[in-house]
Symmetry: none
Subunit: 249 residues, 2 copies
DNA sequence: GTATTTTGTGCTGTTTTTTGCAACTTTTAA
DNA sequence: TTAAAAGTTGCAAAAAACAGCACAAAATAC
């Protein structure tokens, strides 16, 4: 049996079952486990599949996994993103933050709308590039491995040089009294810079985060112009935000 | 038996069974294995089939899979990337360009090496983020939809503020006399800025691009310090580059 | 018609690729 | 923490590929 044949068989199995075990394949193809291991190693190097301990998984499982796979409370986040779409005007200039909620917004941006979008998030930028009428501009800087966004002095410096109509941001924690807070100091600095460069700031947050707080403060609640949650604007959970001069969607 | 006749028989067998073994064919046709080998080599050069170790497979055989990332000449590009790895030193500061060859380089960066990598390419940045010891810094700017890299004045401005030990760049066309050239003017401007901010510039290019040229010029061939192709450095195709003060890997 | 060149084929020795095995290390999960 | 499973590395044998040579047949030139 030719090597290429074997590798093609492995690929087919992976596509078919989404994941395979090396031991299974070795038995099916009647070759040693080492050979299968080497094949999978090569196929992984060629980006045809992804090697994992004990076997391999299909790329379809991982490639778009940032968006596709199980995002926490994805239904709520889609609902939030849909509401946020109303704020997008043809020809507008906006900033879109990182995070799964903002990524949903990027995904749902209609492809017919003409927009100029700034972002410091790699996944958001990738998503926006699929929209033919959106001009995408990345804010450069050192990347946070965890969030796949640019942070640090360079990113803040770059943000200082732009001005957008709307910025859509997420937050780790939000409270009507303590404002927006985060677990991470670097993230706070970037968000401050984002708010500073925006005419209007829109907060996208699932209701679960309401009335929670943490160590570092991003801004007062008054710095936010619009809050969007998955809840009905009249919901009692939002009552403490209604006193402020904030639009609730 | 005529050569033509023999080759036609080989092709028929390949189409019929999707694959053949050289030893089988040699026995069937009652010619030496070397003759069959030479036939298959010719047929592969004519793109009538694909030569593999031990035999040949039909062209349609590999393309049946659903969404193979199918990078043109990926094997060659991996070979180039492997050579380029030798230039990476622990603690180094480098720039990695966009393009599939540079993406292979990013993919193959060992996860134990400590590096600071600048890039204006989203896919390269994403790939590098999987390496725990690599600090990734994006060069921001307006994104080219096609190449998923930052281009334009902003990117160039940002590049002007950094200095790296090595930059690894690709090119559309390269010629020993006309230097590096591109089809796209914007791309040229960015590449110029990259070369300017690098102590040493390394060109990664498949041999197919050697001795080709296009409309807009990026730089003279002398601006390049090292050229890496998939060929052996002593290969005759590289002879015209050997006169210059260029290292060939 | 003869000499020369070109092409095709097979053979030989060397190099590369592939594969399985074994010793040893790392990862995983109870 | 420990035992089992999986992974890694190095090695050796076999198969395949390669490069170079020799020779014969065919094509071409004189």
């Amino acid at each position: 049996m030719l090597k290429e044949e074997r590798q093609q068989t492995i690929l087919n199995e992976v596509e078919l079952h989404n994941r395979i075990l090396l031991t299974d394949i070795a038995e099916t193809l009647d070759v040693s486990i080492d050979t299968v291991r080497r094949d999978v190693k090569e196929l992984d190097a060629e980006n045809k599949l992804r090697r994992v301990h004990g076997g391999a998984i299909s790329l379809g499982f991982t490639t778009n996994s940032t968006r596709n796979s199980n995002i926490y409370k994805q239904k709520e986040k889609i609902k939030i993103a849909e509401k946020a779409l109303e704020l997008l005007k043809d020809g507008g200039v906006v900033f879109i933050d990182g995070g799964t909620t903002c990524l949903e917004l990027a995904h749902l941006v209609p492809s017919n709308i003409r927009l100029t979008c700034f972002t410091h998030s790699l996944p958001v930028a990738m998503e926006l590039l699929t929209k033919p009428n959106v001009t995408v501009i990345t804010v450069g800087g050192q990347l946070s491995r965890e969030s796949q966004t640019a942070i640090g002095a360079n990113a803040i410096h770059n943000l200082a040089e732009i001005k957008v109509d709307f910025s859509f941001i997420g937050t780790g924690y939000v409270d009507s009294h303590y404002g927006l807070t985060e677990f991470d100091w670097d993230i706070v600095q970037v968000k401050k810079a984002v708010i500073k460069c925006s005419k209007k700031t829109v907060l996208l947050s699932i209701s679960e985060k309401l009335n929670s707080q943490h160590r570092y403060k991003t801004c007062d609640i008054n710095a936010i112009n619009t809050i969007i949650t998955e809840l009905d604007p009249e919901n009692d959970l939002l009552i403490s935000f209604r006193n402020h001069d904030i639009r609730i969607l």
